[in-house]
Amino acid sequence: MANWIPLWLHKLSSPPVFYGFAGKLRPWAIALALILGVAALYGGLVLAPPDYQQGDDYRIIFIHVPCAWMSLFIYGVMGIAAFIALVWRIKLAEVVAMASAPIGASFTFITLVTGSLWGERMWGTWWTWDARLTSELVLLFLYLGVIGLYHSFEDRRQGARTAAFLALIGIVNVPIVHFSVNWWNTLHQGSTIRLLGPSSIAPSMIWPLLTMMAATKCYYVASLFGRTRTDLLALESGKDWVRHIAENEVAR
C-alpha cells in the first residue's frame, strides 16, 4: 500500500474492522435520517404555503428533487468505488460499489415515478422523450445493468469487477443528466437551487428541500452500511470472524 494513505484508512478497509465500524455508525445514521425526514415532511407538507401556480401539487418536489440528487450522487460514489476496486483490487471497494447499485436504482425509480405523477398534471403527460427524462431512464438501466451483470457470475468477486467496469463506463451519463436541462431544449425545468448565485425558490420551501436532501444522504449511509455488512458476511463466510458472528447470533 502506498505510504500516503493513512494507516487508519488502510485498517478500515479490512472486512472485520469495517463490519464493526459500519455496525456502530448505522443506527445513528438511520436515526438522523428519520429525524431529518420527519422535520422535512412537516415543513414541506404542512408549513410551506401552496405554490402560486401549481397549488399543492408542487409538494412532490420535496421527495422528487432529493431523490434525483441521490440518484446522481450514489452513481458518483459507485463510480469512485468501482475505480478503486478495479485499480487497487480492494475487496471493500467492490462491495461498496455493488451495494450502492440497488440503493441508487431505488432512488432513480422513485425519481421517475414521482416525476411522472407530477408531470401528468403540470405538463399533461405521464412521460415524454425529453432529454432529462430519457437520461434519467438511462441511469436506471445502468443501475439495473450493473446489478444484473454482478449477479450473472458464479464467482462474486469476478462479477463485482466486471460490473464495476460497466459502472465506470456509465459514469459519462451523470453529467449528461445534470446538464441536460441546459444543453437541450427540454420540457423539464432548469435548476431552481444553485450553489453559486441566488436560488429561485422561497425560503419556506427551500429549507424542507435541503433537510430532505440531508435525510436521504443519511438514509443512504445507513442502507449502504447495512448492505455492506450483509455482503461482507456472505463473501467472507469461511473466515473465523464471520463464524464467531454466526455463533453469537444464535446464542442471543
Binding site: G55, D56, D57, R59, T114, L117, T230, E249
Partner: protein, 70 residues
C-alpha cells in the same frame, strides 16, 4: 387540529391523487430497500450455521470411525 383542517390537508388542494401516491412510492420503495438486506443477512447466517453443523458432524463421524478402527 380540527377535522376540517385535517380534511383539507389530506385533500392537498385537489391534488391528493398525485401527491399521496408519490409519497407512498417513496416510503414503500425505501422500506423494501431497508428490509431486503436484513432478511438476506439472516439467511446468510442461517446457511453458515447449517454448514458449520454439517462440518462438525462430519469431523465427529471421522474421529469416531478412526477410534473404532484401532
Amino acid at each position: 387540529m380540527s377535522v376540517a383542517s385535517l380534511q383539507s390537508f389530506f385533500a392537498m388542494g385537489g391534488y391528493a391523487a398525485y401527491v399521496w401516491p408519490a409519497y407512498g412510492v417513496f416510503f414503500i420503495v425505501l422500506l423494501i430497500d431497508w428490509l431486503a438486506p436484513q432478511f438476506r443477512r439472516r439467511r446468510v447466517l442461517r446457511e453458515l450455521r447449517a454448514r458449520m453443523a454439517r462440518q462438525d458432524a462430519r469431523k465427529d463421524r471421522a474421529s469416531r470411525n478412526s477410534t473404532a478402527a484401532t
